[in-house]
Amino acid sequence: MTTTRTDTATPSAPTAQRARAGGLIRWVLDPANLADWAALVGLVVLVVVFQALNSSFLSAGNIQSMLVAAAILVVLAVGQTFVVATAGIDLSIASVMTLAAVVFGTVFASGAGLLVAALAALATGALVGLANGLVISKGRITDFIVTLGTLSAASGLALIIADGKPRTIISGPLLRLATGHVGIFGYSFLIALVIAVVAHVVLFHTRFGTYVLATGGNAEAASATGVPTARIKTAVYVIAGVLAGIASILLVARVGAAEPAANTAFLLNSVAAVVLGGVSLFGGRATIVGPVIGALLLTALVNGLTLLGVSQFYQPLSVGVVVVLAAFLTRFQK
C-alpha cells in the first residue's frame, strides 16, 4: 500500500492549486460564490437604472444624502449579521435602538454631558443584548420568541422612561455628527464604515469570528470541539445590542429628538439587508460586505423611487418587486 502521494491524487489537489493560481476571476464566477455578489450586482443595476431615469441620482449631493440615510441601517445590519451568523435572529434590534435613544435623551436632558449620554445609550444596548443572550443561551429558549418578547418589553420601557413623549435634543456636536462630512462621506456614514471594517476583521480574522461561524454552522459539533457555544451566542446578542446603541445615537442626531415610538421598519430592513447580502438565516455562513451593500441597496431603492416621484401607493409595490428581483441573484446559493 502506497504511503506517498500517488498520481491518482489528481481529482482535487491540482484543482485546488489551479483555483489558487487562477485566482479571483474564476472564484467570482463560480456559481457558489455568486451569491456573495448578488447584492452588489443588484445595487449596480439599480444605480444604472435610476441614473438613466433621473440624472440627479448620482449627483454628489444625492449620493451624500443616500449614504447618510443608510448609516443607521448599516450599523444595525452589521449587528444583525453577527446574530444571524449563529443561526439566531434579533427581532428586538430596532426596539433596543429606540430604548437606547430614549435613555440617551433622558440622560442628556438631565444635564449630563454628551459623552455620558452616549455611554448610557451603549450600556443600555449592551445590557438588553446581554439579557437576550443569557436567556437564549442559558435558558435555551428560541431566539425568535425571546427577542420578540424583548421587542415588546424594550418599547414598553422606552415609553415608560419617556412618558410617551419625544424629547427634543439640541446639541451642536450632534448636529455636526448629522450634517458634517468629508467629501461626499457624511460623518455618520464614516462611523458606520469603520464599524463595518472592524466587524469584518473580527468575523474573519479572529478566533471569536471563527467560533461565531462554527456555532452557527453546527453548534453540536462546535461544542464537541470545545467551542464555548453558549458564551458565543451571548456575545453576539451583546454585539447587536451595542451596535443598536450606536445606531441610537446616529438616530437621535438625525431626527433631532429621542422618541419612544418604535421604528419597526428598521427591524425588517436590517434582516432584509442581511439576507440580500447573501448571509444564510440558517447560520454558519456570513459576510460583512454583503449586508452593508444590502443596506445601501435598500436605501438607494427608496431614494430613487422618491426622486422619480413614484406615487406613494406604488412605492411599497415597487420596493417589494425590486427586493425579490435582487434576491433572484442569490438563487445560486446552496
Partner: protein, 321 residues
Amino acid sequence: ACGSDDSSSGSSAAAQTGKVAAVIKGLDNPFFQTMESGIKQAASTGGTSVTIQAATAITDTSGQADKLSGLAGQDYKCFIINPITGTNLVQGLAQISAKNVPIVNIDSPVDADAAKSANAKIATYIGTDNTAAGELAGKQMSTILPGGGKVALIGGISGDVTSGARLDGFKKGIASNISIVQTVAADWDRQTALTKATDILTAQPDLKGFFVANDDMGLGVAKAISNAGKTGRIKVISVDGNKDAFEAVKTGDLSAVVAQFPYVIGSMGMEACEAAMQGKTLPQSVDAPVQVVTKDNVDKALSSAPKPGESYTDPFAELLK
C-alpha cells in the same frame, strides 16, 4: 378661485419652472389621503405640478427624513411638509432653507427651537392644534354627559405625538365630573380598537363614553358598542372628520366628531406655496378650520365634505387673487 385665474396664468409660468414637493405622514391613514387630495386639487386649479411623498408608516420618522433629503437636493421651488414629529425633518429643512426655498408647514408643527438651531426657516404654518381639537372633544363630552361619569380613552400607537396631543387636550377639556378610568393604545387600527373597546366594556360595566384619537378607531369602538347592544347608551367622540365618520354620526353610532378638514389643510398648503413662489409675503401662521360635527349639523357637513360645512377664512386665496 376664479379671481386667481389671471394671476395664476402669470404664476403658472413660474409654476411650470417651479414644481412643488410635498412630504406628508403615514400612508394607510385616510386622514392623509384626504390631505393629499386637497393638495392635488389645489395644484390642478393653480396649474402647478406637485410631487407628493409619504412616510411608509406613522412611526417612520427617519424614513420620512430620508425622503425629504432625497427631494431637498432636487430642483423644487417650494416644499409642503407635514412632519411626524417636531424635529425629524429638521435636517432636510435646513438644506432647503440654505437654498432659500420656501417651506410650508402643515398639520403638525416643526419644533421652533430645533428649526432655529438648524437655521431652517418656515414660511408659514397651517394647521389645527391637535391639543385644541382634543379640548373641543372634551368640552363636547361634557355637554353630552351633563351628569358626568366614567370615560375611557383610546389612543393611537403609544408614544405617537398626534395621539398624545389629542388625548392631553381631551383631558383639559372635560368637566370635573367626568373621570378617565382607562387609557389604551389601539395602534391607529380599527380591529385593535374594536378588541380593546370590547375588553374595556367588560372591565367597566358603568362606562359612559369613549374618546378616540381618530375616526378609523372610533368606528371600531362604535362597532364594539353596537356588538354589545349599547349603541346610544355609551357615547363615542373621535377626531379627524372622515366621511365615514360623518355617516356614523348620522346613524348615531358616533356621538360627535371633531373635524379637522385635512382636505382644507392640504389645499391651503398648496395655495400658500403658490403664493410664496409668486413672492408674496405669507402670514406666519393660519388656523385651519375645526368643527364639532354632531347629529345637528351632520347633514351639512356631509354635503360639503371634504370641505367644512361652514365658511372659513383662507388668507392664501386672498393672496392669490
